[in-house]
Symmetry: C2
């Protein structure tokens, strides 16, 4: 007997899927959680395809999702680590927010750490798709956000200058803590100290930019990453969130097998962690201020030891 | 036409499932990843039920899985936050390791932070199932592990003494770093300083013990936690891994609505983080030693400020 047709589900995102992805109408909506003005859904079409949708209210939502789309596309173009494919960013009715449509990943199990390391290394070594990055500039085609904080990406030809101005000074200015800024001054004024092994030889790598365990998973048995804060930078800047990434020895073994470790890699760890700890201090306050101070003290000590 | 019977899959864990869980033979095995001697699988039975299995080689595997089973059972008995139901711990052939069989959780989406907070608070407030804990003792029915490190749980009637000996001194002894031990001495010798608001009034709460983002997920739309290092302790000791847990304002709102915040909660944060940072120093070395030192410096400063 012919099955009764499932009722079509209609919403801005579901309608776009029904009209554009060639898999029939959306006939099922599964709410996957949300917070504040944001929600996530999996939509299923008559044709049996699943799509993952995030919606968010407010005037900044469209810009944020377009930034996420740009980042995921740039990362996906390297054909290295798996990232979700993005199909569309659209607006909700009358300036009430936006939505993003991407492939639904079948997430499950823990990622193979060595495979993840090799894949991220391959992404870092890929020749940049963006012409400015290919020409040796650091930054991105658009500003984006790191968590809820603006992340400025105006192109600069000097990595040390980019990291000093667009990352560290930017976060210190947002924090507006005179003591922290004073403690950071010698570090910012002497940032080249940490780069004597790679001076002028850093090539722009596409970075995920927010690589912690919440943004790393396994999909169909392959390591996959998502929810980036993408830009072209020094590959080692990727490790600024590694304190909360769950990387094992196998991860680093896989990574360094593909992208060998530079001489001053360990000395730069604190430098790259600092950006994210400052961001956490800006977003969450609490113990992160103290941690930022401790990192700056250690960096100052490195400077005085020479 | 009658469908061809699927071939029965045989392994120590699959055979136990086939023989004991009343859902027919295991007919499908899906490898979900692994590292070193450990592997994870989802087994599906003729009856259509899924089971999640972890296997591990070596002589310590059975003890570790039995500890995990005890912990998950104790947490599940509180009927609060969801944890996977454990069915069995068995051995692999001839002392070659062990396996654990639990319900397969349908993981997906991000957990509702407020619901997670409320559920963990309810777990912390549940009257202890263990008679020793119900009588006011801190510890657990068995020693277990925190990551790969032994975690001693011998019962003690005094929380400050338990945390000093079974947690801080235990990790410092494993580290064997004379400078760290010397820096910790004033803190250990004056641990009561941090407990003047709750002196003698701390009731043993069942703790997950390793609550970071890697062990938190959403299953069927409900927050769920797994892979614990369970014992009965001060509820606030639960936050020692919160620096990598992704808890939002909503989480804490939900938590404190059910289990109100004690006066010295913020002052004790560093104290409870220290155990896990020392453990990370023991397991991974690197920057964690410096972080432990920074925390001890802050704790010593708190002491001298009085
Ligand atoms: N493409 C996808 N397919 C399926 N699930 C996804 C996908 N992207 C994200 N998720 C799930 O939704 C959760 C939230 O997504 P994320 O992009 O991190 O959103 P947010 O920006 O709100 O943090 C993730 O932790 C993951 O479990
Ligand atoms: N009961 C379960 N059902 C389905 N998946 C699970 C279950 N328990 C764990 N997992 C998945 O397997 C991964 C590893 O499990 P975990 O218990 O953390 O193992 P380990 O002790 O090796 O860290 C988890 O991150 C989760 O994705």
């Amino acid at each position: 007997p012919a099955a009764a047709a499932s009722a079509r589900i209609s919403s801005p995102a579901a309608d776009w899927i029904s009209d554009n992805l060639g898999s029939g109408y959306v006939v099922r909506e599964k709410f996957m959680g949300g917070s504040g003005w944001s929600s996530t859904y999996v939509y299923t079409t008559e044709g049996g395809k699943d799509y993952f949708v995030k919606t968010s209210g407010g005037t900044k939502a469209e810009g944020m999702f377009k930034g996420e789309q740009l980042g995921l596309s740039a990362m996906g173009a390297t054909r290295s680590v798996r990232v979700p494919e993005v199909f569309h960013v659209g607006t909700l009715a009358a300036g009430r927010g936006a939505f993003i449509v991407m492939e639904a990943l079948r997430l499950g199990g823990s990622p193979d750490q060595e495979a993840l390391g090799r894949a991220v290394a391959a992404m870092h070594l890929a020749p940049p798709a963006d012409p400015s990055a290919a020409a040796g500039l650091f930054g991105f085609g658009a500003d984006n956000t790191i968590g809820a904080t603006p992340q400025p990406n105006g192109w600069m030809d000097d990595w040390v200058g980019f990291y000093r101005e667009r990352r560290l000074r930017h976060q210190l200015n947002l924090l507006g803590d005179a003591r922290m800024t004073a403690l950071a001054k010698p570090v910012l004024d002497n940032l080249g100290f940490w780069f004597t092994d790679v001076e002028g030889a850093i090539k722009p790598s596409i970075l995920h930019g927010d690589l912690w365990s919440g943004n790393i998973a396994s999909a169909d048995g392959r390591p996959t990453i998502f929810d980036p804060a993408t830009y072209y930078g020094h590959a080692e800047a990727e490790w600024g969130m590694s304190w909360c990434a769950g990387f094992t020895g196998s991860f680093w073994r896989g990574y360094f097998d593909v992208a060998p470790k530079a001489p001053l890699f360990e000395k730069r760890r604190d430098l790259y962690t600092l950006y994210h700890i400052l961001n956490h201090a800006n977003l969450f306050g609490g113990g992160y201020n103290g941690q930022a101070q401790s990192i700056l003290q250690r960096l100052n000590e490195q400077l005085s030891r020479g």
